[in-house]
């Protein structure tokens, strides 16, 4: 199956600092992945790991400094605004803030039909509003409301309705569950899952919530300092994380069962600054398994059992950190 979205060695560079001592930092430092039609791909990582920047770069909201982005076999990076416009019909994006991503002075009806207006698609706006609101589980009385009259969950549903308005083939969702309480998170995820099955959507989900990933994604990539440290099938990664960072993230995930024995891997120190990337493996400053070799040589990305791992010493299933901190 050919990939719908193909990202190759993507880099995003920011210039920071005052005029004379200006420096370049790489927000995204060479990332490659494919998303097949109908597949859900999750990007996870801490705040500041470059997830949102990557999403904006794919969508063309952020210029890239190297690499390529292809949609359906066609290069879409560096396209002019005009040339990108048809792409925006088939690729839509959802933003982090459910209420803040809706224009405050527009009614819900105007908001969900805005994509039709932008692309000059002639439809019966009223009927279309009704259809879209029903699809996301809101009734048509919401059409006359303003964003500030909506709850977070309702606003998120409006965002989803807007994102699917033009029957896109790919949705990029940046933290679709941010700012929602747990029961509403569940509803939104079920909604996305349901829509994906009914409409055959491919999705790229950006999140730091691993429950979300487990619930919805087929494959995932773990990001650290703008690079993928581990990419692969969700089930496999959840069962046996191979990269120490993935293992640490998974072990930090709140577990609903209090009696379940677990080994929490705590990571010392802060995330290094992008201005001072560590030498060798960039994770070695925080990795419990790190050796001398890790601080010298950067590990290559290795293919192993349909996974891509950037680590000198991939973990065996069930591995414990050298100094295990057992938490009840």
């Amino acid at each position: 199956m050919t990939a719908l979205l193909e990202v190759r060695d993507l880099e995003v560079t920011f210039r920071v600092g005052p005029m004379l001592s200006r420096r370049d930092i790489k927000g995204v430092a060479g990332v490659s992945f494919d998303v097949s039609p109908g597949e859900t791909f999750a990007l996870v990582g801490e705040s500041g790991s470059g997830k949102t920047t990557l999403a904006r770069a794919i969508n063309g909201l952020q210029g890239i400094s190297a690499g390529s982005v292809s949609f359906d076999g066609q290069r879409i990076d560096g396209l002019s605004t005009g040339a990108m416009k048809p792409m925006r019909k088939v690729m839509s994006m959802m933003f982090q803030d459910p209420v803040g991503s809706l224009s405050p002075r527009m009614t819900v009806g105007d908001l969900v039909t805005e994509p039709f207006r932008i692309h000059g698609v002639s439809v019966d706006f009223r009927a279309e509003t009704e259809r879209l609101l029903n699809l996301v589980g809101l009734n048509e009385t919401f059409a006359d409301r303003f964003p500030h009259q909506l709850s977070g969950g309702q606003a998120r549903r409006v965002g989803v309705a807007r994102a699917i308005a033009l029957n896109p083939r790919l949705i990029i969702a940046d933290e679709p569950t941010a700012g929602l309480d747990v029961s509403v998170q569940g509803e939104v995820l079920n909604l996305l899952n349901d829509l994906r099955e009914r409409l055959g959507l491919a999705m790229v989900i950006i999140t730091h919530n691993l429950h979300v990933v487990h619930h919805i994604a087929d494959r995932m990539a773990v990001m650290y300092l703008g690079r993928f440290v581990e990419t692969g099938d969700c089930e496999q990664i959840f069962d046996a994380p191979a990269h120490p960072y993935t293992a640490a993230l998974l072990s930090a995930n709140p577990e609903p069962d209090p009696d379940k024995a677990r080994n929490r891997i705590s990571l010392p120190a802060e995330v290094p600054s992008l201005l001072a990337r560590p030498k060798g493996c960039e994770f070695h400053t925080r990795c419990p398994w790190a050796s001398d070799r890790c601080s010298r040589d950067a590990p290559p990305v290795v293919d192993k059992d349909a996974r891509k791992i950037a680590c000198h010493y991939p973990l065996q299933p069930g591995a414990r950190p050298p100094v295990a901190e057992a938490t009840p």
Partner: protein, 297 residues
């Protein structure tokens, strides 16, 4: 872009009418606001119905009746050419209102467009426009008026141009600042990601969110505009005689203020009452719509 299917009037427009009614009631509850509103309505009513309110014509010279004091026949007396001052004041109100509304509308349109472009456009354009705004603003109003009239001759158009030049930089700056703030907001980014053109983003997504405070500010500027018109007409830079304007009437009475003070009073009183009315109304509106600004300015 074609919008073949017409969209029914949105709830937004209907809501806005309700908002206006609600705001009016709140304005009336404030004594100063009610007073201001009454003054403004009386002034507008006088200007609109000027033809029906008096039996005289504003420019009809009648030498036998010159310099008559206020009486039942001539409520505000007559001037040095025997013209009925009450009639001239009412017709002068038309000029004042017309200049105030017309030039404010033009200033607003130009200011909004320039402010949106400066705030949303590239950095160099923003800097260039700021330089332009500041240069214009650095001219004192009277100098600007004198320079323009020297070039083009005194006329009502000159008054409008002066007012627009004086108002636009301030309006544009306000819009620019707010546009800059909204430029990075998620709903603008969302509109970009949907493929909306810059013009559409500014018109549909940015403008409705930035014009509110400006409209209040503009309503508070109306007395200033009326004063500029009266001032320029007083100095002979505005309307040409015999067109009635409050400034011109004031000037007519100025030379004879010791013997016949009512002429100057007839010209000055409406200026004072109208600017007072608009100021009270504007300040109350500001407090009602934007309580954060209360007690400032």
């Amino acid at each position: 872009m074609s919008e073949a299917v017409s969209n029914p009037p949105s709830m937004a427009q209907r809501l806005r009418l309700g908002d206006i009614w609600k705001a009016t009631r709140r304005v009336l509850r404030e004594p100063l606001g009610a007073f201001g509103l009454i003054l403004v309505l009386v002034m507008i009513g006088g200007a609109v119905f000027a033809d029906w309110l008096t039996a005289y014509e504003p420019n009809k010279i009648s030498p036998r009746d010159r310099f008559q004091g206020p009486s039942l026949d001539h409520l505000l007396g007559t001037d040095h050419l025997g013209r009925d001052l009450f009639t001239r004041v009412l017709h002068g109100g038309r000029i004042a209102l017309w200049v105030a509304l017309f030039s404010t509308a033009i200033s607003l349109s130009i200011g909004i467009v320039l402010g949106l472009i400066a705030g949303y456009g590239p950095r160099w354009l923003d800097n260039l426009m700021l330089l332009l705004f500041d240069s214009i603003k650095s001219f004192p109003t009277v100098m600007l008026a004198l320079a323009l009239v020297t070039l083009a001759g005194p006329s009502l158009t000159a008054v409008v141009i002066v007012v627009v030049l004086v108002n636009v930089p301030g309006y544009a700056r306000i819009i620019r600042t707010q546009t800059l703030a909204l430029k990075e907001s998620e709903f603008v980014t969302a509109a970009q990601s949907m493929g909306a053109s810059s013009a559409r983003i500014l018109r549909v997504h940015v403008m409705p969110n930035v014009i509110g405070p400006l409209l209040i500010l503009a309503s508070m500027d109306i007395p200033v505009v009326i004063a500029i018109e009266a001032g320029m007409s007083f100095l002979g830079l505005g309307v040409r005689p015999p067109t009635p304007s409050w400034g011109a009437i004031l000037n007519d009475g100025f030379t004879a203020i010791r013997d016949t003070p009512w002429i100057a009073i007839a010209g000055g009183l409406p200026i004072i009452l109208t600017t007072l009315g608009f100021t009270f109304l504007g300040e109350t509106l500001r407090d009602v719509f934007d309580p954060r600004l209360k007690g400032r300015g």
